[in-house]
């Protein structure tokens, strides 16, 4: 039982650190609250949806920005989508970067956009690994027979 308690503590600490570092925000809490018996894997489901969607968007963004003449409208739309989805799961650092990204889009600043894309990619991979670790911990906890602390 000690292992379970330790795991629980680890999980709590880890998720707290995610909030402290500003990687996640209140919205993620809301997601977790929405998860209940009827939707046991809701958070994982949504987050993996987010991963899929984001990877697609990042790919398209990369392609769009490599073009000779950059279609900033398209880029802007993609970034907007990314911003919406990231804000929905509470990945606020990605979301904030997206705001800056859109400003560059409005200025038609290709270099700024590319820079932002790199940053967004970086933040995205960061949030992805963090969330995956979080889910891994949760799975371990459930496997050990504990319940996820709220």
């Amino acid at each position: 039982m000690d292992g379970v308690v330790q795991l629980q503590k680890q999980l709590v600490d880890y998720s707290a650190s995610l909030f402290d570092e500003g990687i996640l925000d209140e919205q993620f809490n809301q997601l977790q609250q929405l998860q209940d018996e009827s939707n046991p894997d809701f958070v994982v489901e949504v987050v993996s949806l987010f991963f899929e969607d984001s990877e697609r968007l990042l790919n398209e963004l990369g392609k769009a920005l490599e073009q000779q003449t950059v279609d900033f409208k398209k880029v802007d739309a993609h970034v907007h989508q990314l911003k919406g989805s990231s804000s929905s799961i509470g990945a606020q650092r990605v979301q904030k970067l997206c705001i800056g990204f859109r400003n560059y889009c409005e200025e038609l600043n290709t270099e700024g956009c590319l820079k932002c894309l790199q940053q967004v990619k970086h933040e995205y991979s960061l949030v992805k690994t963090k969330l995956e670790t979080l889910f891994k911990l949760e799975r371990q906890l459930i496997a050990a027979g504990g319940s996820i602390p709220t």
């Binding site: 209940d36 939707n39 949504v46 987010f50 989508q81 919406g84 929905s88």
Partner: protein, 1248 residues
Amino acid sequence: MEKKADEIHSRSCECSPTPSTPMGTPLRKVLDRISGFATPWKREGTAPRGRRIFHRDVEREEFQYASTHCLSSYYSVFVARLAIMVMLAILIGLLTILTWHFTKSYTTRSLNGLAYGLRNELLQRPIVRMWNILNSTSEITTAQLKLSEYVFRRYNKPDTQAEQVELYQAMRDVTWALFASRKALNAITINYRNGFVQAFHRDHRSNNTFYIYSDIVNYSISASGSYDIKMLSTHQGWNDQSIHGNVSAIWYQEPLDPLTGEKTGKAKPIPPDDLINIAGLSQVPDGVASWHVAVSKYSDSPLLSAALPVWDPSNESIVAVVGVTTALYSVGQLMKELVEVHSGHIYLTSQEGYLLATSTNASLVTNSTKGTNLMMAVDSDDHIIQMGARWLQRAYGNNFSQSHEIHAENFKFGHEQYYIDSFFLKLKRLPLVGVIIIPRKNIMGKVDERAFKTLVILISASLCILFIGCICIFILTNGVSKEMKLRAELISHLDARRRAEASSNYKSQFLANMSHELRTPMAAVIGLLDILICDDCLTNEQYATVTQIRKCSTALLRLLNNILDLSKVESGKLVLEEAEFDLGRELEGLVDMFSVQCINHNVETVLDLSDDMPKLVRGDSARVVQIFANLISNSLKFTTSGHVILRGWCENSNNSFIDTGKFALDQKKSWTTHKVKLKQQGSQMKKASKKENKMVLQFEVDDTGCGIDPSKWESVFESFEQADPSTTRTHGGTGLGLCIVRTLVNKMGGEIKVVKKDGPGTLMRLYLLLSAPVDGTEQHCQVDFANHSLVVLLALRGSMGRLIMSQWLDKIGVFTIKASEWNELTQILRELFSARCSVRNNGFDAQRSLSEPLKNKVLNIQEMRNPVFVIVVDIGLLDLSTDIWKEQLNFLDSFFGKAKFAWMLNHDTCNAIKMELRSKGNILMVNLPLYKSKMIHILEAVIKEKNVELQKKNSNGLRTTKEGDLHECLEIDATQFDIASSDDSDMSEIGSSNSVGVFHTGEKRRERTRKPCYQQIDNCLVELTCVHSKENNLTEKNPCQVRPNSHDVEDEEASLSAEPQGENAECRERHLGSRRPTLQGNLYSSKAVNEQKSLEGLRILLAEDTPVLQRVATIMLEKMGATVIAVGDGLQAVDALNCMLSAEDCGRGSLFEDRNTRSQTEIRGSPPYDLILMDCQMPKMDGYEATKIIRKSEAGTALHIPIVALTAHAMSSDEAKCLEVGMDAYLTKPIDYKLMVSTILSLTKTAA
């Protein structure tokens, strides 16, 4: 100009000593600096002043970049000026010099030519004369020779004495003839071989003519005839012998008549050679003619003598020598004449330098011991001639070259300059040199003088021109430099303006961007605090602290909102909402809120709204509340004691004038005057507003604070402006409040100003233009209290509130008695009730202390039949500092049966008192301040109780339950005041009125809402059952139990927001949220979520392209019990809607059978979905487009599906856009759970 300056600049560089290499900017700057330093001295002080001013300006404006630019151009102007002046000076100088030079040199040259000619001419004439003399002499000599030869041939070889004499006589005659013909001759001599001499001599001075001859006796013909050829070689010796040998010879001089030659006197002997030179044989040594210049003893002028030998006819020997002497005197004479005319000196010299003739009277002969000799020119007595000769000798040496003619112009002698010219006359036998010396002054004097005068005039003229030119340049460039300066200033001003505009733009941009960023963390802070408050394990103290933090956070949020509002208004982005709201209730809430603060510093907050105020108006409730909140808080800030009154009345209807009666008398005068003004002011607006169904609502905020100086009445409404700068220190604040108020009021078509007030303090008056609700069925329905014979005893501490309340009660027909302190209250109570009990025995004892009008009132009341007494007691009247209040309560308790007590509590009244009161059966407890709706509420409760009592008499069985209900109800009411008193008492008021209204649905008061839908009633009933279930807990008064009550409030709020008042629920929600953020976030607690599936049965179409968001929103909605159909874009949404519409046509009605809460008509008109959540930005078709299409398809039908926008944009312009295309509400991402639910509920309920 710039270019020109540069040009000049570079040109000036050439003039200046600085090397004019290609001008790099640094070099140029240095040069500018140098010239800038150099110019001040040259510019006589004007320049440094200008420069200093410029410097100061620069320092003030601190535009370094612009200033260096300006400075350099400023310097270049100076340099240009200087350069132009120098150029001008040089030009004028050159012109002057050239003019002078040409004038002078030309004149000089021509004059020199003339002078040369003149000098030549002058010298030529004496020379010609000399020449003539020589010629004539030679001619005479030749003639004499020929005649002598003829005579000798005639008398060839005279052998005898007689023949000899005859020869001599003939010779004499011939010679005389020649001598007489030539007057200029000095002498003619004939020297015979034998030594006989014949001569004629003419003395020019005495004008005598003489014949000179030697004694003929001494000469023998034989002796004389012994000449032979041999002797020719030694003829010198002969001559000498003969001459000198004849020492003993006697010469005779015979004066002659100069004309006839007759002998006029006796001959007298003279020494030989004494008088004249007799040309002897020695003078013709080689037998040819000879010339020489001789000097005679008797004349001071040199003589020119010529000698020729006379040969005998056989040409073998010389028989005689003929000599002719001519005086050069006449040449000197001529020279003198010439010099008299022309001045100067002329002299002739022989080649050796002996003077022959001069123009002076100086003697030409020296009488030395050796004899008479000719004088050298260098030794001349005449000074000038001497100097001239010496100069010539010095310059050219002794030997005048034959060909050289010397012309020297600048021979200086003494103080004067002379021209000196010498000519060489080349005669065969007698070379001559002529020299002329003329003083320069004579010829050039006038010219020089003229030249000098011309020079002076030219120089002065050019100086004048230079001076004028410099002034002109200065004046001209002064304009240019001024222009430059102005231009530089203009440039810097433009620059400054551009920067200011840019920074202003940045500011508004920044604020707009910050709006989201600032509010989010604040919302998070507040939300977290709410979570903390919900936590069960907090101690009381912690709870209080957290509550305090929450309050502060709310205040901070409000401040942020203020600033953002202002920036929004300034950037023109503020969009006013147009929704119905209950103005009275809003203001009551506001006053409740502020009364809490008032009590802290003994200020009374009074709300005084006239009865004709419309209950419902359309407008932006949040903004209206903001206006009054700012005004009241401002008034409170500056009021330390007294009251703050918020008055309101409607200007639209004519009866507004009647209302003046309710104002205090002292204000009446000023009122009427103001009214006239306001009426004029508002008259135009009224005309316009009538058409749009608009009302002019007048408000006043009246305080008794420190007041505002009249000069600041306008400026207090400016940004960051406070009446007194020290207020920031004493009262704090940013000075933004009134500015926001004014902009908001103006935005609502109103006006605000400070109005003169009689007493101390400030009176702010404003009017707003708000439109009446569309249905226009507003009612001022009041319970007719007059019929219930009510008597209200107002025992209130605040005099203003008491006065206003009693006036109003009097007006609606309720008797009032006023008491301001405990003693007064007890007196009145005793009087009233003791009098009633024993009205006949001792009624007037206690009335002694009462004033006259009060007595009358008491008397009136005593005459009333069966009066109902309502005693409104301010808790402040009790002495709470000691325990006396319990006795006071006991005293009041004795009147319990006879009158109804209503207690006015303070927000900080401690629980012990409340419990005590409650234990004594006092159930009517309300928080201060007292205003109309609270009063109505109290009266209604009292009347109800009375009715119940009446019913109780009729039927005993019913009584218990009813009474119990009523008690509970009222107790809830009171408790809720208790709970919410901390900072949102307005809410409690709303809640209380609702709960009361719910219980007495049949009552008149509730009837005014007229359209209560079943749904709402259902909800309310459900909520009330919850309340009932918790009732037991409430009575325990455990502080921890307070929190569950907040859920009750929440529930009620939900029902409240669903009230069918046609309000835009979203706005309403936001408004509530802004004032009561405590309540937000509570719903997040899982309990609230689980407890309630408020969206049960709703069908919601979700159009959202982002899968994540789609999923999240779906789950959220499904948790609330709604059915969600999710689509990916706007096109699909439209399709889904159309599809459902057509499907619905087939099977309408069956779909919604289970929804029994709806009426038949609603079902018939209802669309397939109850609501659409529409993302704004989607691929294929965005939310705006989709909404437009949906609304278009709805046109003509009665359908109206509520559409809620989902957008990540937080600006109200986006909101405006959403509402413009036909959406009903607006939610921002990330989705706020509670906000979404309330929005959806309000929209669906409204539709239902």
